[in-house]
Amino acid sequence: MAVTHDELVKLAKVSGLEFSDKEYTELIQAFKQKTELMEAMNAVDTSGIELRYEPINAEKDLREDVVRPSLPRDTALSGAAEKDSSAFLVPATVE
């Protein structure tokens, strides 16, 4: 499962991250270690295992389908670097 520089560049694009050449070299080494660990999964035959995992096999509550108060707008906006009185501000994406 060795990863190439070009594959890492594509992954960086979907990850929303930028890397220097030195960092890409480090990433190749890090991926080598992690993909080797993942290869150990092949020692277990999972052919009869259902692709479904429930962390808890216990009764779960579904909440009532009723409107209830949510985070106040001011509070939701409080951590934004740029905002106005009612919305997050982002750079324009259409002209």
Binding site: L11, M41, Y53, I56, A58, E59, G79, A80
Partner: protein, 461 residues
């Protein structure tokens, strides 16, 4: 005995006997935090608000008002657990100035029980790591030997008497490995026993909140407070309320104990025989596969969770060229550290079309397989024990070895409870831990066995 060095149980007892006050206890642990600030256990210390809460607690006690179980006791919480109006950094530059808009259920339960929240503890950035070396605010040191790592500032703080107990989180050993490295008791409860509402998610299918303490009894006290169903967390289990502390007894009589991979764990577990348990060695040949599955699942889930950090709604914002896409890229690149970036990249790798089946789906099948294997094992055994981690706390700066967590991650993937109790000293005289695992929601059996082990070990001294 110095006030700060009391156990949490002793501190409660002294408060109830009016032999001390919450203000005295709070001042004692804050003095410890200041004296050993170089351990870098804490990201934020709430000196003013903690002392104010302590004064109020003492007033309520003096007025004879009804008090809850933790009234006036200073505790710490990991800095990925929200407390309204205070900083929540997750040890990341990306959230350096983020203020929690609400309080996590687990923290609220501590507050409602009267605890004085004294500090937020250091951690690996967003949970990416198991040595607390990836924090943007510097590594937390091990108080037993500061040249060595811990696995979390919460453990450093509890071991260095900077609080009487802590609420940590454990995805693949965060609580248990920290406990083992620092000579503490750390419990990862059954998945879903303690609410994750308001806890910054790293890997949602394995993340658990749990207590880190200096004794087993202290652990039971904190578990009593934090456990319970929460309608705000869809993965919260609906279980009858337990009284772990009240029912705590050093008892392993009649229990069947299986030991994974022998060695020092087998020698330690042999002590259970004296209490009337039967002990036998079992083979569990899936540790390496489990570690691979853990890597695949946690990187995928962490990547997904961290997509929300984009510089728009909260957190560090870098505008770059001013284009929207550049805001995302520049904010995330500047905000995240190396380990987190590698986790995000790996997460996208395992979820890519080419690798989805052989990495992520394979890992989820192994998670299911492990759950089935433990179901079978718990038909034969009441407890399964192993080393928590089979090395002493590593020297800081040494290359990280993911296989350190191989014993811890199996319980995480299977969702079963596991506790680490101090077991023995390693070749350099540093503490090592014994991990005891039980079937889901059998925390009482686990705590009782841990108490038996703790008392037997004290008897040896």
């Amino acid at each position: 005995m110095e006030l700060a060095k009391l156990s949490l149980e002793q501190a409660i007892d002294k408060l109830n006997r009016k032999e001390t006050t919450s203000v005295e206890l709070t001042k004692a642990v804050i003095a410890q935090a200041k004296a050993a600030a170089d351990l870098n256990a804490l990201i934020t210390v709430f000196e003013e608000s903690a002392l104010k809460a302590a004064v109020e607690s003492d007033k309520a006690r003096a007025a004879g008002k009804p008090l809850w179980s933790l009234a006036g006791v200073p505790v710490g919480v990991k800095d990925c657990i929200c407390i309204e109006g205070t900083k929540l950094t997750c040890a990341s530059k990306a959230l350096e100035n983020y203020i929690s808009p609400y309080t996590a259920t687990a923290a609220q339960k501590l507050i409602d029980a009267g605890a004085v929240i004294v500090a937020k503890a250091n951690m690996d950035e967003f949970g990416a790591g198991n040595r607390n070396e990836t924090s943007a605010f510097g590594r937390a040191k091990n108080p037993v030997d500061p040249t060595r790592v811990t696995s979390g500032g919460s453990a450093t703080a509890v071991a260095a008497f900077q609080c009487y107990g802590g609420a940590g989180t454990d995805s693949g050993g965060g609580i248990r490995m920290a406990a083992a490295y620092c000579g503490l008791v750390g419990l990862k409860p059954t998945y879903g026993l303690i609410s994750r509402h308001g806890v910054m998610a790293y890997s949602g299918s394995v993340d658990c909140v749990g207590p880190l303490t200096r004794t087993v009894a202290d652990n039971a006290i904190l578990l009593d407070v934090m456990a319970g169903h929460d309608p705000l967390d869809m993965t919260s289990a609906k279980q009858p309320k337990q009284e772990y502390y009240k029912n705590l007894k050093a008892d392993v009589k009649g229990l069947k104990v299986g030991v994974v991979n022998g060695g020092c764990a087998l020698a330690a577990a042999a002590g259970f025989k004296a209490g009337g348990a039967t002990v036998s060695e079992i083979k569990f040949p899936y540790l390496d596969a489990a570690l691979g599955a853990y890597v695949a699942i946690t990187s995928a889930e962490a990547m997904s969770n961290l997509n929300r950090i984009d510089g728009i709604r909260y957190g560090l914002r870098q505008n770059g060229s001013g284009e929207l896409e550049d805001v995302y890229f520049k904010s995330r690149t500047a905000g995240f550290g190396k380990a987190v970036k590698q986790t995000i990249m790996l997460g996208n790798y395992v979820l890519s079309k080419e690798n989805l089946d052989k990495c992520f789906f394979k890992a989820k099948k192994i998670q299911k397989f492990l759950q089935q294997e433990f179901d079978k094992l718990f038909k034969q055994f009441d407890l399964i024990v192993s080393p928590t981690v089979d090395i002493e706390a590593p020297v800081a700066g040494e290359a990280s070895n993911p296989t350190d967590a191989k014993y811890a991650v199996v319980a995480s993937l299977a969702g079963i409870p596991a506790i680490s109790v101090p077991c023995c000293n390693g070749p350099n005289g540093l503490p090592m831990g014994l991990q005891i695992m039980a079937n889901k929601f059998n925390e009482q059996t686990l705590l009782n066995a841990a108490l038996f082990f703790e008392r037997a070990k004290e008897g040896v001294k």
